[in-house]
Symmetry: C2
Subunit: 360 residues, 2 copies
């Protein structure tokens, strides 16, 4: 193994050649291979939980400066790898970069979240959107950040790329911001189903090109976040959610793909049939339920309640060990959603260490 790396490092001075990974637990687990222990990382691990992040962020004009400056995105992507000892890095970015290059600029309002000054209201608004390669090419700053990060990581751990699922991006593009009910976006589905499909297809086309760009730049695995899957009825999700996830999964053959459809328990059986490698699980679903619904072919990723990381050390440890035990094989340890920004850093480390020490 050591020799392989040395060899690759020598090669890489002559031509850009992928480095062998020193820690490829995540990729092996994603492919369903036997692993020594489950890999562990956290959604939103690069962010406010880290003092290094808060310090850097304090010096900048805003969130978007961080996302759009490859050197800075690289820096914060690597911070949790150094600090937490996780088994993967995930590129620091935002799912809303895709709507932006399609023509809908987003802003990040401190303490409030994302906001779109312009939204999709009419069918004509959908027609005006840019899609596919032409849109994805504008995301060059993400590809550069991935290249820099890969070089900087130097094979320590795999780098995860990501995107938002078409339905989730559509929800923001119509609603214009976060929402409890996303009732404007859901109303659009019922009132303008044909236009909805045109929009979803445009997002899908852009997303496929975007993911391929990330993979070309060095992403070792890509995750699709369908954060608002759970507000659709099972019937709507079958029509407006799953078919576009299917297209994405079938288009990405280069690296393993993870699909995380939050709160879409009602579609876990359908998600289990997608041509992807890993299904993300939220904390509303037990390991047993998840395995029964998804089936046995895919790896599962999740699902500790992020709130558990506020609990005392012994509670975090025992809940984490129970989770790892309950999920068993073909498993990647993570939370059931992004880590909350005010989680004590020590508790995050307790969680990571609890996974690593499981069974030891």
């Amino acid at each position: 193994m050591m020799n392989d790396i040395m060899e690759n490092e020598q090669l890489s001075t002559e031509e850009v050649q992928p480095l062998a990974l020193k820690n490829d637990l995540l990729l092996r687990a994603a492919r369903g291979e036997q692993v020594e222990r489950p890999p562990v990382w956290l959604m939103r691990q690069a962010g406010r939980i880290l003092p290094q992040y808060r310090e850097l962020r304090g010096k900048l004009s805003g969130f978007k400066e961080l996302v759009e400056t490859p050197e800075l995105a690289c820096e914060v992507t690597i911070q949790p790898v150094d600090e937490l000892g996780v088994d993967a890095a995930i590129i620091f970015s935002d799912i809303l970069v895709v709507p932006e290059v399609m023509g809908l600029r987003y802003e990040m309002i401190p303490g409030k979240g994302p906001m779109f000054p312009m939204t999709i209201q009419l069918e004509e608004d959908v027609d005006k959107l840019i899609a596919g390669e032409k849109a994805a090419l504008q995301l060059d700053y993400v590809y550069k950040a991935i290249q820099l990060t890969k070089a900087e990581l130097n094979g320590r751990v795999p780098l995860i790329g990501f995107c938002g699922a078409p339905w989730t991006l559509m929800a923001y593009m119509i609603e214009g911001s976060g929402s409890k009910t996303f009732s404007k976006a859901r109303r659009f589905l019922y009132k303008k189903p044909i236009s909805s499909h045109v929009l979803l297809q445009k997002i899908t086309d852009t997303t496929v090109d975007y993911l391929k760009g990330q993979i070309k730049a060095g992403a070792d695995l890509v995750q699709v976040f369908d954060s608002w899957a759970g507000i659709l009825s099972p019937e709507q999700y079958k029509v407006f959610g799953l078919p576009y996830l299917k297209q994405i999964c079938e288009s990405i053959t280069e690296v393993p793909v993870t699909v995380f459809a939050k709160n879409a328990w009602f579609a876990l059986d359908e998600l289990g049939k997608l041509d992807c490698n890993v299904i993300g699980i939220d904390w509303n679903t037990t390991a047993q339920n998840a395995r029964e619904m998804v089936g046995t072919t895919k790896a599962l990723q999740g699902n500790l309640d992020p709130c558990l990381l506020y609990a005392p050390e012994d509670v975090i440890c025992s809940a984490t060990h129970k989770m790892v035990r309950d999920f068993g094989d073909k498993y990647i340890a993570n939370l059931g959603h992004g880590v909350y920004p005010d989680t004590p850093l020590d508790n995050v480390k307790i969680f990571v260490d609890a996974v690593k020490s499981f069974g030891a």
Copy 2:
């Protein structure tokens, strides 16, 4: 039937005697009896969808004036019965009246929702709360509103009373407002489990007395709203949610009880074992799934996506007919959550009429 009513009306001039209901579809369906057609009503039917409501509300100082003035609460409770032809009235009130009489006053901020100037932060805060009969007695204005409404309805349709579930009320009492994650409240469960149980028991004791007060005043059925059930993990819901619902269900023997635990699909089997008559179903759960998980003994209520009422008439009709057909027997037609305030009134009527005309 006609004779029975006449007889009761004569009796009631001499002593306060319950009027026989001219339309008791809801109560018969709730008890699992065979009915001519499923009864239909809508959560939040008394409110902004009605021009009469908006006109009255515009003249008042605020939401709480409406809740706390029995004559006004009675007026808006009856408006949808006149206007929509629904098979039940539900008393106009708010679940947050219970925390208020326990010691935490709430405000209703226009466009924002509920807000508590003081919240539960420490264990001592829990100890200071008033509970049980002493608290419930202060809700006299609700009991008066129920009495007035019963008299005014004159037996046309049953009157539903309601309350928030202990966990849902606790969530507001700690969080201080609505929230996407209720992470403060869930953190409290993990960090202070003993104090959480003390708080939940106090809310439960108050709720039981409150529901008994509503029933004594004339409520024909009571519904418990566990609006934030779905943000708990299955394990937490077993510990902090279900046992208190169980206590409430076992304490209320006078009238049928409906439990609506939104997004708690993972607990539908446990909810099916409660000593209640009806389980409310949200739009994430199909009729078939709901029946499989709840079992065959209880009536089910729900579950049209409120967003569907923005759709064209033919879509509303066919989706409503499909829903009624899918649920079959032991069924009360409703939405899967409260009707959205900007829903066109005509579309609400189309929904109600579609249920009534089903099979005709």
